[in-house]
């Protein structure tokens, strides 16, 4: 069994309730921080832990916290990003539903470190039943002196509020989230200024993912240095992976970042192999926006080394032969799945979710969706494949926020690695409507020469 830091107590019955959580060591980390550590010391521990943002970008959390501006007399805010809308990602939901106090304890320690007296949890609107769970937990924490004024006699005050979004993926982007929290449309802001200087209501603000903030609890429990001994290299600690698609055991798993992708997919401890005895065709390991990889490149890097579940190993080879750990939304495709169709659903998603501020994103995502739909329906031309490539190239890097890149990458990677499948759709318009392309050579034994970077 892999070591657990977040889910170590998840099996305990009723751990979602305060009494049980507390009786099992809950709030010990918060107590330690508030009673025996200065905010600077806590920050040091987080820095030492090597914790990187779990929302997708993997930015070092301690460093991010150290950027927060501290002008005299201006409030600072911590915002917990619970928008969780990247297709394939459903890990934060699990934390909030089943371990709400772990999150609240993490918010308390983090707010203390940042000097924030108000914290907002911005949760996607569709998780409509979870605010009740969180609010009950917040009320219980408050009743027991972990929120409110002068917490545990430390002189530190904190209130936590839950705010529901209303159906907009873009509100997961931190500046769009802040706009939304201010009661506006979720249009991302141009950076700089960064939220750490000018965020919520123009005050210094830190936005972190749910999992990131919950992880602060075990970091304080075992110490930053000890935490950094988990995992490999700069991928310290554990990571929640939400696994879905054609596997035997979809679900949310905590992994130590030292196992191989192969172990994650095939071992009984995790995904339990490909469903229905099928073979693995492809995988999108970090949520819909990261590049899809064919089985051979997924399990081994282009250099022939085993691919590991770490930030570095997954991105080994860059976009030519690698991908990204992203948010940990791990989507597995078996041999019967159609890459064109799958890519089309993502293109449709990004088109639907574009906020419309930048023309390359607004127009480009719709265009990609239309072209992909034609190819998928057997009405495409060979030149459409190059057209798709051109469109995604024109979006990438030319937009206000990274949603444009997120929309471009899945299309680029699908063409890069599965071009023959797109061509087959064009050349076999009728056959492609009744059957799928299949596995082709993607699962061939791992003799891979790195394709030329494109």
């Amino acid at each position: 069994m892999g070591r657990k830091l977040l889910f170590d107590k998840a099996h305990i019955e009723n751990i979602r309730y305060y009494d049980v959580y507390r009786a099992n060591g809950g709030y010990d980390s918060a107590e330690k921080a508030l009673k025996s550590m200065t905010p600077e010391l806590v920050l040091e521990e987080v820095k030492k832990s090597g914790l990187r943002g779990r929302g997708g970008a993997g930015f070092p959390t301690g460093l991010k916290w150290s950027f927060i501006a501290k002008p005299e007399g201006v409030p600072r805010y911590l915002v917990c990003n619970a928008d969780e809308s990247e297709p394939g990602t459903f890990k934060d939901r699990y934390l909030m539903e089943f371990l709400p106090h772990l999150l609240i304890e993490g918010l308390l320690i983090s707010s203390y470190t940042l000097g924030a007296n108000s914290c907002y949890i911005y949760i996607r609107g569709e998780y409509a039943w979870i605010p009740d769970i969180l609010e009950e937990a917040i009320a219980d924490a408050k009743k027991n002196g972990w929120l409110g004024k002068n917490i545990q006699g430390s002189g530190f005050d904190l209130e936590i509020y839950v705010q529901r979004g209303a159906g907009a993926y873009i509100c997961g982007e931190e500046t769009a989230l802040i706009e939304s929290l201010e009661g506006k449309r979720g249009n991302p802001r141009i950076k700089p200024p960064f939220p750490a200087v000018k965020g919520l209501w123009d005050c210094p603000t830190v936005v972190n993912n749910v999992e990131t903030l919950a992880t602060v609890v075990p970091i304080l429990r075992i110490g930053g240095e000890e935490y950094a001994k988990y995992g490999i290299g700069k991928s310290t600690g554990t990571k929640l992976i939400s696994a879905c698609g054609n596997i035997n055991k979809p679900g949310v798993y905590e992994i130590e970042m030292n196992i191989s992708v192969e172990e994650f997919i095939y071992s009984e401890e995790y995904c339990g192999g490909i469903a229905n005895g099928k073979r693995l065709k492809a995988c999108i390991p970090g949520g819909s926006s990261v590049p899809i990889l064919p089985a051979n490149l997924l399990l081994k890097t282009a250099k022939g080394e085993p691919r590991m579940m770490t930030y570095e190993s997954l991105s080994d080879g860059g976009f030519a032969t690698g991908t990204m750990l992203g948010s940990g939304g791990f989507i597995v495709l078996d041999e019967d799945q159609c890459i064109v169709k799958n890519t089309l659903t993502f293109a449709r998603f990004y088109h639907h979710e574009s906020c419309g501020q930048c023309s390359p994103c607004r127009e480009g995502t719709g265009w990609m969706e239309r072209v992909l739909k034609n190819i998928e329906k057997g009405k495409g031309k060979m030149s459409d494949i190059d057209l798709l490539w051109d469109i995604q190239r024109k979006i990438e890097g030319n937009t206000i926020c990274p949603l444009g890149d997120a929309a471009a990458w899945p299309v680029a990677a699908a063409i890069r690695h599965f071009r023959d499948e797109f061509e087959w759709h064009v050349l076999n318009p009728e056959e492609s409507q009744v059957r799928n392309f299949g596995l082709a050579h993607y699962a061939d034994p791992l003799e891979i020469a790195a394709p030329a970077a494109v």
Binding site: E126, A128, L181, I331
Partner: protein, 161 residues
């Protein structure tokens, strides 16, 4: 108009933000209004929300139309919002959508004649591991099969009687 109880709820929501930042209450109050006033937001409802938060009606319209959970026209009593993004598609969401279409004799975006059911397709709801799935009111219905869909339809019909 909100009841006394709901008005208190609105006050409580506004109190979560610093003085003068009551516009931040817009999304929560729109959720509340949609629940209270028939599952959608009419122009009157939005004007009312604007007056409660002391902002201009246009500030409410532009926000309400941005977010997909706010309905700008009436919907059926039970809205089936079936996810059809990649991970759900890989698990057969297309079959579930087809089944519901046939069973209720409506297309996507349509409402049954008795006003009981509306079928919508939606993008990823964060339940990809429990696919295929749909949102029904406040809750998710996961691991859908035709049989489960039948049960859900019967359950909704029973509630209507």
């Amino acid at each position: 108009m909100f009841s006394e109880e709901k008005l208190n709820k609105v006050k409580e929501i506004i109190a979560r933000y610093p003085q003068g930042k009551q516009k931040s209450a817009l999304l929560p109050v729109l959720h509340l209004a949609q629940e209270e006033f028939g599952g959608w937001l009419s122009a009157e409802t939005m004007d009312y929300v604007a007056s409660l938060l002391q902002i201009t009606p246009i500030e409410v319209y532009e926000v309400a139309t941005f977010y997909s959970m706010f309905n700008m026209k009436p919907v059926g009593k039970h809205v089936f919002e079936v996810c059809h993004t990649g991970p759900c598609m890989l698990r057969g969401s297309d079959n579930i959508i087809d089944y519901i279409k046939k069973k209720l004799n409506i297309g996507v975006g349509e409402t049954t004649q008795d006003g009981l059911f509306t079928l919508k397709t939606v993008e990823c709801l964060g339940a990809c591991g429990y696919a295929p799935m749909m949102q029904l009111g406040k809750h998710f219905r996961e691991h859908l099969t035709p049989e489960k869909v039948d049960e859900i339809i019967n359950e909704c019909r029973a509630k209507a009687n």
